[in-house]
């Protein structure tokens, strides 16, 4: 077990900034998920921990040791690759034992560890097979097994589920979470899938364009995204955004839509009139019948209704945009219905139109 600390770490490829001044402290035993769209620098960050990528500037620590110039083999890390990267000429057993043999562990120890890991991952019967004789899911488990037997200080995983089908992905997701609980080791996990991030992470670091956008527990990211990017990235379907203008404690939107701001938000917006803002609200927070507390009404007309069983996903033309709402399927909305969607003020997010930063600090949001 160990902490991992990025201290002003930057990675440049020529003139391209892949990771820009990253500061991130990963706690001991934590399941840290690095998430973001492709090209955001998450994989580069992971590879810097592994030692597969040189650090252009800044310091990277594993535990108390600065590892900038330590080769991968001396970092006490194990990595699971997206393609699994199993050694094709070795059996499952040899694949798992490879790292231990290199460390010259006694044979009996190696066998014990391999068998134990095989037991955990139900690979017992596959130990003498070659990787090409295994299914995708089995290969994935071998890749995990190869990392487990090493008993490293930090586990690194680079999109390990992306080559699996949807059902297997959900299964393996739980398996990896269980593994983390059982081992208590520090995990650093890279994914572009926000669902994986939300379900598995103790904390999540959202990255975009090489910049760290926000770090926090899944709940904090969902409830109080610090900017428009995080708000749009976390949550599915994505948050709705509408351009509005602040006017004397009111929000003025398209099509003559006006929302009276309650005190808390009024303070946040400030006295400046005519300030351009982005209002954000999640599809699942729009209600049709009644909502708790003070609400604002969003009028619209249903275009498409996707029936999901317990809920309905509505595409509504409202405020001049396609607004998505998720409502109880008891509502039986039909295409063409005119709707009055209710949104509790506590669920309304406001972002500066230019910087994208949230106007509501975490503390205020929690208080409200």
């Amino acid at each position: 077990m160990a902490t991992v600390t990025f201290d002003h770490v930057t990675k440049k490829y020529g003139d391209v900034l892949a990771v820009n001044d990253l500061n991130l402290a990963i706690n001991e035993g934590e399941f840290m998920v690095l998430v973001g769209p492709s090209g955001c620098g998450k994989t580069t960050s992971l590879r810097m921990i592994a030692g597969l990528e040189e650090i252009s500037s800044g310091e990277l620590k594993i535990g108390d040791r600065i590892v900038n110039d330590v080769p991968p083999k001396d970092r006490d890390i194990a990595m699971v690759f997206q393609s699994y990267a199993l050694y094709p000429h070795m059996t499952v057993r040899d694949n798992m034992a490879f790292g231990l043999k290199l460390r010259k562990l006694p044979k009996s120890d190696i066998e014990k560890r391999v068998n134990e890991a095989a037991g955990i991952l139900s690979l017992d019967k596959l130990l003498d097979r070659k990787p090409k004789e295994l299914s995708g899911g089995q290969r994935q488990r071998v890749a995990l097994g190869r990392a487990i037997v090493r008993e490293p200080a930090v586990f690194l995983m680079d999109e390990p589920l992306s080559n699996l089908d949807a059902k297997l992905r959900v299964q393996t997701r739980a398996e990896i979470a269980r593994l983390h609980q059982r081992m208590g080791t520090t995990f650093v996990y890279v994914t572009h899938d926000q669902v994986e991030a939300m379900t598995m992470g103790t904390r999540i670091a959202v990255m975009s364009d090489g910049l760290l956008q926000q770090v926090g527990t899944p709940q904090v990211l969902y409830d109080t995204p610090s900017n428009r990017f995080v708000a749009g990235f976390i949550g599915s379907p994505a948050m709705n955004f509408v351009e509005v203008t602040a006017d004397n404690g009111k929000l003025v939107g398209p099509e003559g839509w006006v929302a009276e701001l309650p005190g808390r938000l009024r303070n946040a917006v400030g006295a400046v009139n005519g300030r351009k803002l982005i209002a954000g609200f999640r599809p699942e927070h729009l209600e049709l019948k009644e909502a708790e507390g003070q609400t604002v009404t969003v009028p619209g007309r249903a275009d498409v209704v996707e029936y999901l069983g317990n809920e309905e996903l509505l595409h509504v033309t409202a405020l001049g945009k396609d607004v998505v709402a998720i409502v109880d399927s008891d509502n039986r909305v039909k295409p063409g219905d005119v709707l009055q969607l209710l949104l509790p003020y506590t669920k309304l997010h406001l972002f500066d139109a230019e910087s994208g930063a949230s106007l509501i600090s975490e503390r205020e949001q929690v208080a409200a």
């Binding site: 990595m79 393609s83 990267a85 050694y87 790292g99 290199l102 190869r146």
Partner: protein
């Protein structure tokens, strides 16, 4: 849902007819390949076998002599010597070409001027083997005003050494020429094979704790073992047929010290008009090649490697 049950099984008559025409169709499809193989491989082989048990003096094959040609060959010291020389070629030429080829391919992959390096190493492949022989005859020349090697050795006060005139050195000197000429070929083949190894596997080995040496021997070499064996077979086959380098550089000399099988066939038998004996040499070469071919075919069939 039950609209077209009729379509499920094809009409019976049609199926029977299909079976009856089976063999004819099979032969028809095989015929082009079979005819070509019979004309260009099977017939010449059988014909050579037949010639090898005939005296065949001056191309006149009318005197059956049984195994006399073979017995006579095996009792000729220069022929036995040429087989030994060929074995030397097989062992040292093949081994070093592969080792150098692999080493250059691995090193070239890690530097910026990879394609330039490969182009330079590949250059000797563009030189005809006879020209290769002439060039190296100059390098080996005893007169240090001509011979590069002796000139270099002269600097450290050794020599001059008669590389091609001394029976102890001549085979090593010729094999070195062969190695120089073929390393580029091996480099290109193995470099392509190395490119086929996914980077993630090498990175996995690195994070697993392997150093570069261990990665080379335990990951890279096993993963390119199939291309290596194909290359080895190609080199061995070429070397069993070797003729040009000894012919140009030493004429098999000094004495018979650098003769190889194909050269022996040419020198002793064609020159003497003993075509039956020459055919027997060819058959012996074929027999030597058989194990290599069996190995090759097995290798391709086995799924043991990647």
């Amino acid at each position: 849902m039950t609209a077209t049950p009729v379509m499920v099984s094809p009409p019976k008559a049609r199926r029977v007819r299909h079976e009856r025409t089976g063999w004819g169709t099979v032969l028809l499809f095989l015929a082009p390949a079979l005819v070509l193989l019979l004309i260009f491989l099977v017939y010449p082989t059988l014909s050579t076998l037949r010639m090898s048990v005939d005296r065949g003096l001056g191309g006149n094959f009318s005197r059956f002599v049984g195994l006399d040609n073979y017995i006579s060959l095996l009792n000729t010291p220069s022929f036995v010597g040429s087989i030994i020389n060929n074995v030397l070629w097989i062992v040292f030429y093949t081994t070093f070409v592969i080792l150098f080829g692999l080493a250059i391919a691995v090193v070239a992959m890690r530097v910026r001027y990879e394609s330039t390096i490969k182009a330079i190493v590949f250059l000797p492949m563009a030189i005809a083997a006879t020209a290769l022989g002439v060039i190296w005859a100059f390098v080996y020349a005893t007169d240090s005003n001509i011979g590069l090697l002796n000139a270099l050795l002269g600097v450290i006060r050794i020599g001059p050494i008669s590389w091609l005139g001394n029976p102890s050195f001549v085979n090593a000197a010729l094999i070195a020429v062969g190695i120089w000429g073929s390393t580029g070929f091996a480099t290109v083949i193995l470099s392509a094979a190395l490119k086929g190894i996914p980077t993630e596997i090498l990175e996995a080995a690195r994070t697993d704790g392997a150093n570069e040496f261990q990665i080379f021997w335990r990951i890279i070499v096993p993963m390119v073992s199939l291309p290596i064996s194909v290359l080895a077979v190609t080199l061995i086959v070429n070397v069993i047929k070797l003729f040009d380098i000894p012919y140009v550089m030493t004429q098999g000399g000094p004495g018979n010290a650098s003769r190889v099988i194909a050269f022996e066939m040419y020198k002793q038998d064609f020159a003497a008009g003993l075509y039956g004996k020459a055919a027997a040499v060819a058959v012996i070469m074929l027999i030597l090649l058989i194990p290599v071919m069996i190995f090759n075919v097995r290798r391709f069939r086995s799924s043991a490697v990647v």
